[in-house]
């Protein structure tokens, strides 16, 4: 079920009302959450439910087994079973065809043709997200950072919690699972803030991301047909598309959970205001970055085993992160680019600081900050090019064509023939400006608090205006409903 669908618009209010009617009874509430989450997930394909139920069951049992034995070897074996089951599903559903293709391609490099056909495998939505979530549970128990739960209902609800099931935030059991043991009382302001956050998420998704997609898809699906400013525009718009798509989803997820009293972790923190790639990764998809930090980077040795090993570990993390995002070379290249830049930033940090000090450049001036924000955005956006391109060959064509000079088009009307009309461009840019303004100010002034202090007329007018903007300027309808980009990962 998509958040931006009529199905969800009917589903969510029903769940919300029922939830608060049974909220005082923990078991009833968890039953409701489990059933509604399974309905939500099964809406795509009921067969996916077998997978998630099996995965939940395995981790629930293994968590207890690990905890109940003091035998280190047995603990390791149990953990291995959990890893094999969870990663096995992930690898099978997500990477089988990628490995087959890569295998065939590598033979082709040596002049031999292999007759191996790919398998017809449907990728279960959000498998990468809930797999990582359940893995963190068993790993944390293995590390003795968490006690296993005996409440299977709470655990199954935790794994399948519908707001964040298919595209995160990837929650840790230590943070989310205890919230299923509590009972909640209805908090009016919390619910309101959750609803507003959901509306803001929908704005990002429907008004910005999906409109930008109309232009981006046209260019990226016909890479040979566009050049210069057309491809640059598409690449810049993709940066906003993917941010608004993904952070929009996170906002709706966090907001929906908040309306039911749950607190999900922050997943984005205005990442395009970052002044370095290192900072970018502290602000982008925070739940995944911290997951990789805790369960890949640190087990590899982190920064404890010397400079070069640190660089290698960082690089590996980003390589794996690229692969996590998708089974294609373009995602691997995207990860590699980020890995290289992160290593470069780490390796040159001291010398760059020294040069800045020698030149008397203050890191705190507006010009300096702006300069690095722009540089970071350009690098991130260049990497997005690979992320979005349908293939490596397409990415090469786009990069080549990008340097053909047709900047005069910025002052003409040719751009308006590519997926978006002139007034659609205008609406898109205005929406992006609203978004930037909101992100710049939200940290200083809490918009929800500000709104709460206004008169009823202004408050209700704002709510209605939000609803009308979504209705009129949102991209939806039979031909336009688009899934969230991160569902595929």
């Amino acid at each position: 079920m998509l958040f931006n669908s009529l199905d969800f618009a009917i589903f969510f209010p029903i769940v919300f009302i029922l939830y608060w009617l049974v909220a005082k009874n923990k078991n009833y509430r968890n039953i409701l959450l489990l059933v509604s989450s399974y309905v939500f997930y099964g809406w795509w394909d009921w067969r996916f439910l077998l997978l998630i139920a099996f995965s939940s069951l395995v981790d629930f049992l293994i968590g207890q087994k690990i905890y109940n034995t003091d035998n280190k070897k047995k603990q390791k074996q149990y953990l291995l079973v959990s890893l094999v089951v969870n990663l096995g599903f992930l690898v099978y559903f997500k990477y089988t065809n990628f490995f087959i293709d890569t295998f065939v391609d590598s033979f082709r490099l040596f002049g031999s043709e292999l007759e191996v056909s790919t398998l017809n495998i449907i990728l279960p939505v959000g498998i990468s997200f809930y797999t990582f979530q359940t893995l963190s549970y068993t790993i944390d128990i293995y590390r003795k950072q968490l006690e296993p739960t005996k409440d299977w209902l709470a655990f199954f609800s935790f794994v399948s919690f519908f707001p964040q099931l298919v595209a995160g935030p990837i929650e840790r059991a230590s943070h989310l699972l205890p919230q299923f043991y509590k009972t909640y009382t209805f908090n009016y302001n919390q619910v309101k803030s959750g609803l507003l956050l959901m509306a803001f998420g929908l704005f990002k998704k429907m008004v910005i991301a999906d409109r930008a997609a109309l232009y981006v898809n046209e260019v990226y699906n016909n890479p040979g047909g566009y050049e210069g400013v057309e491809t640059i525009m598409a690449t810049v718009l993709f940066a906003f598309q993917i941010y608004c798509d993904f952070s929009g989803y996170s906002d709706i997820a966090i907001g929906a959970a908040r309306t039911m009293g749950f607190d999900l972790m922050k997943n984005f923190d205005s990442p395009y205001f970052s002044k370095s790639i290192t900072e970018f990764w502290r602000r982008w998809h925070i739940s995944l970055s911290t997951w990789f930090r805790d369960y890949v980077y640190i087990p590899l040795g982190g920064s404890r085993k010397g400079k070069y090993r640190t660089y290698a570990n960082l690089f590996i993390v980003f390589l794996v992160s690229g692969l996590w995002h998708g089974a294609a070379m373009t995602f691997v290249i995207w990860g590699v680019i980020h890995g290289i830049i992160i290593v470069f930033e780490k390796a040159t940090y001291k010398i760059r600081t020294k040069i800045s000090n020698t030149l008397g450049l203050s890191a705190y001036t507006f010009a300096n900050k702006l300069f690095f924000v722009i540089i970071t955005f350009v690098i991130v956006d260049f990497a997005w090019l690979f992320f979005r391109a349908n293939s490596f060959a397409d990415a090469s064509i786009i990069i080549q064509n990008m340097f053909n000079n047709n900047f005069y088009e910025l002052f003409g009307t040719d751009l308006y023939l590519i997926g978006l009309k002139e007034n659609e461009f205008l609406a898109l840019f205005l929406s992006i400006i609203v978004l930037i303004g909101f992100e710049l100010n939200h940290k200083k002034y809490n918009m929800v608090n500000w709104l709460n202090k206004q008169s009823i007329i202004l408050r209700w007018s704002t709510y209605l205006a939000i609803a009308m903007v979504l209705t009129i300027f949102g991209v939806y309808g039979d031909d336009n409903v688009s899934e969230f980009i991160y569902f595929q990962f």
Partner: protein, 485 residues
Amino acid sequence: MRNFSVLLIKLVILTIIYALFLSILGGFFISKKSGNKTWDSFYNQPSNSIDLLFLGNSHIGNGIDLNIVTVKTKANVNTIYSSGQILNQIYYSFKETLKYQSPKLIVIETFAIPGDSIYYFKDPVKESDVPFKAKIQSFDSKKIGLVKLNEYLDIYKDEEFLPTFFPLIRNHSNWNKEDFVTNNLFEEYNPVNSTRFYKGSSNSITTLSKKRVEGYKKKTFKNEPFKIAENQLEYFNKIMELAKKHNIEVMLLTIPYFKEYRNKIDYSSFHTEINNLALKNNIKHLDLNVVFPDWDNTNFSNEYVGYNQHVNYKGAIKTSNYLSNFINTNYNLNSNVIPKSLPEFYLYNDIKRDTLKEGNRLLGNLEKINGTKNKQYKIRQGSSPLVLDGWTAIENIDSKNSEIFIGLKSDNNSIYVSKASQFKPIERKDVSKFFKKENIYDNSGFKINVNSLLLEKGKYKVFMIIRNSEGEVLVKNSNKRIEII
């Protein structure tokens, strides 16, 4: 839980206000087609003022000119039609009209009576498969009420609820069409809007091209006996019951088919089936295919070769004249409407009116016919279009809000009144300057382009006609003559 209840109540109120906003704004996002305009026109009529009501789909909309019927029957006439409409929708439309009007006669065009297939003589299409866009035009324009609700419950699918009741949701992306919403707003609130005299008349001014005629010759159509769909027959019976209850006479009318099509289908079975239906219900059926069996392509619009072709304005002039005489002979509408706002009223009745009550005269000059200033102009039918240049205005009245027409009246009483789509405004500052009236005649210029194939052969007098914002019409003979040979 008090807070929970408070929140729910607030959300419900907010949702209701939101739904109201959606409903109010929805109309401005609709691309208004003839079907919507006929309803707008209908609701603008004083209650219980309509004598004669036409019901059907695009074939009645294109096949009859209501201005002519109004003038010739002296009745207040209206059409309710929308493209693709069939009997079940017509039933609800008829029901809705009875809330406001009590017509003496309703005329149902028979192309709206479907056989096995809702679009007969094509492969079967089930009633439930009627495309949404074919149902929604008429529905959109109806006022909210029980009839509308029942129509939804009867005809629409569950998943069509939102797009049906909230056209803004369905048409939201129309905001990106340049000036679309503002034009709709302007149209709605401008007292001199272009539809104020619109009742659903034929506006088609194209003629079926020879290429498309060839297309008809090559195309095959389903040639099986026609039988009215049983479910639709039930709706017909319901219409008859309603009509009987309200003491309304019913007539069936079949608009002419293009003969290349008619000859390829089992038309006689259709004719017989409809005749039997009329006989069974003791009503009349006028089949204009019998009256006009040999119409050529110039009487039909130049649309894609689908199945039945729409009649154009040239054909509609003939059907409307014949139908009016038929109604006058067979029905007693007992009305004496004087349609002073229709140019046809003056031409058909030979009424000379070139001065307003207040004494303001019609000024103007038909300066050129196809670029020449000759008083007599001869043209071979179909050789080239007729382009009429000139200016006309009402003395001392700003020409900005006036509508300009050209009327052509032949010696054998064939009358043609130009349509809005044939009119191109021309700025004429020189006219204002000549009369020393600052700017008021700037909008008096016109260029009217008439396809000569739309005119019957004969000698025509040319009239300049103007209608002011109050709907008053002035007519003046230009003293120029055109001969179509």
